[in-house]
């Protein structure tokens, strides 16, 4: 077999990026996450939603120049599919059989463009309800968070246990508090479907369902450099066709469907007659190249590629700025159906638009208080994070979720701003409080209150009872989490419809107190 340097470069780059992104999603130490969040923002949809237009322009230019490099090198879901595709070869090799060869199949432009159209349309109307389930990055991140991370945590716990028996506390036990059956079932189903399709049909998902793939495909049709068949040299042997995991090389009619080509470079270098090259359409091949384009145009009967591209690029860019079209008309939810959202989410409409449920915040929350929603907050909020204080509370000084959110659905703010950001307000039911019912001391709520919005005030005798100053309450849930009253707690946080800065607790001057005596 000949050396295939282009493929080697692709595999190397893809492996590095895949490992980095996976590491970022699977890392166990979330207390001081390294400043590698930017890696997650290299992804197309996060970059689009976080309005990193420079990066989007770069990705588009890259695609125009080299084809869908994004899909083969940058997209972790694409690389995951390549891994499964490889598994297929290994599986057959184990059985000492040759894997059935993949052959060219016609593209299905109707399905591809319909899915893209609906996704873009919903995006324009102010909803990511479809995109959440189709975005390749979010799907990969959900698979990592829901399926892979629990396995890593279990492995960590096993090793931690063994080390602990030898008085080694380098690793520590981690509980998995963020998983939900709903999210697990959905993610597992998606994972299995993608895995099976990838094993049987290579990059079919990328070339049918994925809106990013379809969109980039429109551009890559006219890529400056792309795989090109030199018709005069080609003997229609079909070798390149069987190496193509996008099933986009038609060796009979000597054509490559560049919109489906993910430039995996599998075909480059396999041709025994040197008829297939990843190159500029040089004069010798220029004629054939032009014919190719004309043929493609005639056959697919899609509108002008350039027009298509401009319209789509325009709409997508516009969508992220004019999304309020639809957003403003949605009615304000009542508090019972309103989730407590992670800090800096703003309001539900904005947040559920920008969040594509990648679960990075959920798995990185050191207190594990973020959970993926089921249907309780509406279809638009499926799998998106909401706060639950049953196993922890929002640590005052922590803003890991804000830092990691690649979509900027949680807007970037400083720690000082976060410490005053109210995500809800505590409500106290005195007749359920232990101090009232048992007449014994407690004060667990006030103890956990970082702003002293919950303060113990004189009650009977030496007893003190909680009192709330709503104006300085930030809804961190410390009080709700620790309240010992069951089944319903005596103090609990009600969601803020619109998150805003709470009043700063009154500043006191440090008194200079001097004591010369022990007092006993």
């Amino acid at each position: 077999m000949k050396l295939r340097p282009l493929k080697a470069i692709r595999v190397l780059l893809a492996s590095i990026i895949f490992l980095f992104i996976s590491y970022k999603l699977l890392e166990l130490n979330s207390i001081n996450p390294y400043e590698t969040h930017v890696l997650l923002r290299s992804q197309f949809i996060p970059a689009l939603l976080s309005a990193s237009f420079l990066w989007i322009v770069f990705l588009l230019a890259l695609t125009l120049l080299l084809g869908r490099v994004y899909c083969s090198v940058l997209c972790p879901l694409g690389i995951l599919q390549d891994l499964f595709f490889r598994l297929r070869t290994w599986r057959y090799r184990l059985k000492s059989k040759k894997a059935p060869k993949l052959r060219y199949i016609k593209s299905n432009p109707f399905i591809r463009y319909s899915i893209l159209f609906i996704t873009v349309l919903t995006l324009l109307l102010g909803s990511t309800v479809i995109l959440t389930h189709l975005d390749p990055y979010s799907n990969f991140a959900r698979i990592s968070s829901n399926l892979f991370k629990p396995i890593i945590i279990q492995a960590n716990n096993l090793v931690a246990m063994l080390l602990m028996k030898n008085d080694n506390y380098t690793l520590h036990h981690i509980s998995i508090g963020y998983l939900s059956i709903f999210s697990l079932v959905i993610t597992l189903s998606v994972f299995l479907i993608i895995a099976v399709i990838a094993m049987m049909r290579g990059r079919l998902v990328c070339n049918t369902v994925c809106p990013v793939g379809t969109f980039l495909g429109i551009i890559s049709k006219n890529a400056v450099i792309r795989p090109i068949i030199n018709k005069s040299n080609c003997t229609k042997c079909g070798l390149c066709e069987t190496h193509c995991k996008s099933q986009c090389i038609d060796s009979i009619s000597k054509k490559i469907d560049a919109s489906r080509c993910v430039v995996c470079m599998n075909c480059i270098g396999v041709c025994k007659n040197n008829a297939l090259k990843y190159t500029l359409p040089i004069p010798a091949t220029q004629k054939i190249y032009k014919q190719n384009i004309q043929q493609t145009k005639q056959e697919t009967q899609t509108p002008s590629n350039r027009r298509n591209f401009i319209v789509l690029a325009g709409t997508i860019v516009a969508s992220s700025t004019t999304k309020k079209l639809f957003g403003n008309t949605t009615k304000i939810d009542s508090q019972s159906t309103h989730p407590i959202m992670p800090p800096s989410a703003g309001n539900k409409t904005d947040f559920s638009y920008k969040c594509t449920a990648c679960h990075a915040c959920i798995t990185h929350c050191p207190s594990q208080i973020l959970k993926p929603a089921a249907l309780q907050y509406g279809i638009g909020y499926i799998l998106k994070p909401y706060v639950k204080f049953d196993t922890g509370y929002c640590n005052h000084e922590c803003k890991v979720c804000i830092d990691i959110c690649p979509n900027h659905a949680l807007k970037k703010i400083s720690t000082e701003e976060k410490k005053l950001l109210s995500i809800g307000v505590a409500q106290f039911k005195q007749d359920a409080c232990i101090v009232y019912t048992e007449e014994t001391s407690c004060g667990a709520c006030s103890e956990h209150c970082p702003t002293q919005a919950v303060k113990m005030v004189p009650y009977k005798g030496h007893l003190t009872i909680p009192e709330i100053d709503s104006s300085i309450c930030i809804g961190c849930g410390g009080c709700e989490y620790i309240c010992p009253v069951r089944p319903e707690r005596a103090i609990s946080v009600v969601s803020a419809i619109m998150q805003k800065q709470a009043k700063a607790p009154s500043k006191e001057h440090k008194e200079d107190i001097k004591i010369d005596d022990f007092g006993f």
Binding site: N29, I434, F520
Partner: protein
């Protein structure tokens, strides 16, 4: 933070091998005159601890060679040392060095924190101090680290899940910080026991003050209680809002009698903020459990003013 811990490590390691050793060797002469309670004022946490230990007969009274020692500070909150929400890190590192010099095999430090444990360990400066002093920091925020034990003398609390490091230890030293507390009024040595158990909710549900006294009847008592009153949180405890809640008092109180040390600490605190002994309900209940005395006239107290 880094500079802090570096300086701290430098001071402790530098001093411990010079002044600490001479201080230790000199204490043999004075061992016949031991006190039940020692209160020291006016030094650094390290100086005050060494003075207190010397007056209590030296560290060898408490730590035997080859022992596994646990030090239990209060590391409840994600707060910097200036906020006085957690035990002073310099005090902890000095104590670890003393234990190791007395021949302790291992010195383990943990707390069942309230805020996220990793953030607490880090922000308090204790993780760095323990590492620099040669101790081991153990996590305490997962149920897997705890094991249920009987509390036969408990009135409301009959059993509790206690941290395994403590169950395995040969001896432990209780090192709370003196703080005001919204619910329990004061948190000192007895209240510091709440950081060795898993299920604190039960305490709050079943008369907090009684449960605090009950848990202190657990058969393995601390060999020494050292109350850190170097920086004291006088209000808005136990977490504190700002440094305005703290006051620098440069004091340390140590005793084997947990009720006496808490009583002394409350009386000391009372000079800053009004605090009646009766309000701190677990003291009287501890006395009823025969854990110690609230009558400080009964015991031999040594008061030392440095400088």
């Amino acid at each position: 933070m880094k500079r802090r811990s570096f300086i701290l490590a430098g001071i402790t390691s530098g001093l411990s091998f010079s002044s600490l050793k001479s201080a230790l060797s000199s204490n043999h002469i004075h061992t016949e005159k031991t006190s039940n309670l020692v209160a020291v004022m006016g030094g650094t946490p390290q100086e005050m601890l060494i003075a207190a230990i010397n007056n209590l007969g030296g560290i060898k009274n408490f730590v035997k060679p080859g022992q596994n020692i646990v030090i239990k500070p209060n590391i409840g909150w994600d707060r910097k040392p200036e906020m006085a929400a957690n035990t002073n890190p310099e005090l902890i590192s000095t104590l670890i060095k003393l234990c190791l010099e007395a021949g302790a095999k291992n010195v383990t430090v943990f707390d069942h924190t309230c805020d996220n444990w990793q953030r607490c360990y880090q922000a308090s400066g204790i993780a760095a101090a323990v590492k620099a002093a040669g101790g081991v920091m153990t996590p305490g925020n997962d149920e897997v680290y705890y094991k249920e034990v009987e509390i036969p003398q408990g009135i409301n609390l009959k059993k509790a899940k206690i941290h395994k490091a403590l169950l395995d230890a040969d001896a432990w030293i209780n090192v709370p910080i003196l703080k005001n507390h919204g619910g329990a009024k004061m948190t000192i040595a007895m209240k510091n026991y709440m950081g060795i158990v898993w299920d604190r909710g039960y305490f709050h549900q079943n008369d907090l003050q009684q449960c605090i006294a009950d848990i202190c009847t657990w058969s393995k008592k601390p060999v020494l209680n050292i109350v850190d009153a170097y920086r004291v949180m006088r209000q808005n405890g136990p977490q504190g809002k700002s440094e305005a809640d703290t006051v620098l008092l440069k004091t340390l109180i140590a005793s084997t009698d947990i009720v006496a040390v808490d009583t002394a600490a409350v009386k000391f605190f009372n000079q800053v903020e009004n605090m009646e002994l009766a309000a701190v309900g677990h003291l009287a209940k501890g006395e009823q459990h025969k854990l110690g005395t609230t009558n400080l006239d009964k015991i031999n107290i040594k008061r030392i003013k440095l400088q």
